[in-house]
């Protein structure tokens, strides 16, 4: 199945693109898809997305599938054509 990642704010700058579509197995969870994406992109992208262990989402990163926030420790099933949003922290000014 195909999922599309959307990158917001600083992550978009690091990714060099606003979104990226990828083919994943039907059994892939959103957590595994995020880990695979970050590890393949590596560098500063991975540092922003993952915590120091490299095994979990960074606590300051918001993760959404469609119109629902996904908490890292809760089940995160994907579906074909899912839109996965990675939103780094932003503020006022």
């Amino acid at each position: 199945m195909q999922v599309t990642f959307e990158f917001l704010a600083q992550l978009r700058t690091l990714a060099g693109t606003a979104n990226e579509s990828r083919d994943v197995d039907a059994s892939t969870t959103v957590q595994q898809a995020v880990l695979d994406l970050a590890r393949e992109r590596g560098g500063d992208f991975a540092k922003l997305v993952l915590d120091a262990t490299g095994e979990r989402l960074h606590p300051s990163m918001l993760l959404f599938v469609g119109d629902q926030q996904v908490v890292w420790d809760e089940p995160g099933p994907l579906h074909d054509r899912a839109r996965v949003v990675l939103a780094p922290p932003i503020a006022g000014g």
Partner: protein, 245 residues
Amino acid sequence: MSLDDEQRDIYAWQIDVPDFGEAGQERLASTSILVSRVGGLGSVVALELAAAGVGKLVLAHGGNTKPSDLNRQLLQTYDHLGKPRIESIAARLHDLNPRLEIVAEPANASTENVDRLVEQTDLVVDCAPLFEERFALNDACVRQNKVLVEAAMFELQAQLTTIRPGVTPCLRCLYPETPPAWKRRFPVFGAVSATVGSIAAMEAIKVAARFGEPLFGTMLRFDLRDVSFHRAAIQKRADCEVCGA
């Protein structure tokens, strides 16, 4: 608080809004709101709240006006460069609404002053650029059970949510620690801060006047690059050290 004839005249166009009416206007007139940092985002929040007839604004903003403020901080002016920002903010808001009661705090919110600032108000709009300030406001609002409108921006993107302590996720549910990668200066247009500021002001007006559907438990994200808007449900964090059970 009953409206007088001048107030009915000034606010006639919004009193006509269904579900708001004269009762809503009276509620606004008796409401006190803290706007923390009255910069690019907060200046528009404060302007809209002053224009709408909020009774009292507590405004926290330190420092002097700099050239780099002028692309977005709409309560600053070229002839005020080098002078305290809060003076220009208070003067221009009073020009618009002389009845507005203003408490001008010439400092940014911090753990030292935040409880005193929040105590004076019914609700808070967080427009601060640093997470230390944002967390101080969030924590004080949770302690004092005050609604907090959270607004943020980056480049042509922005996000908002409205926090009701004990009911919705708080800011620490979303960001449990100070984000290490966040930088004080970031790219943004004044038109973006004005857009998100206007929406944040409308959130505060809805909460104060008790009408409409504020963004409780919902995050609004938008991107003016392609003018797309999205809403998503956000979650409380069970182990949140500020609002967790």
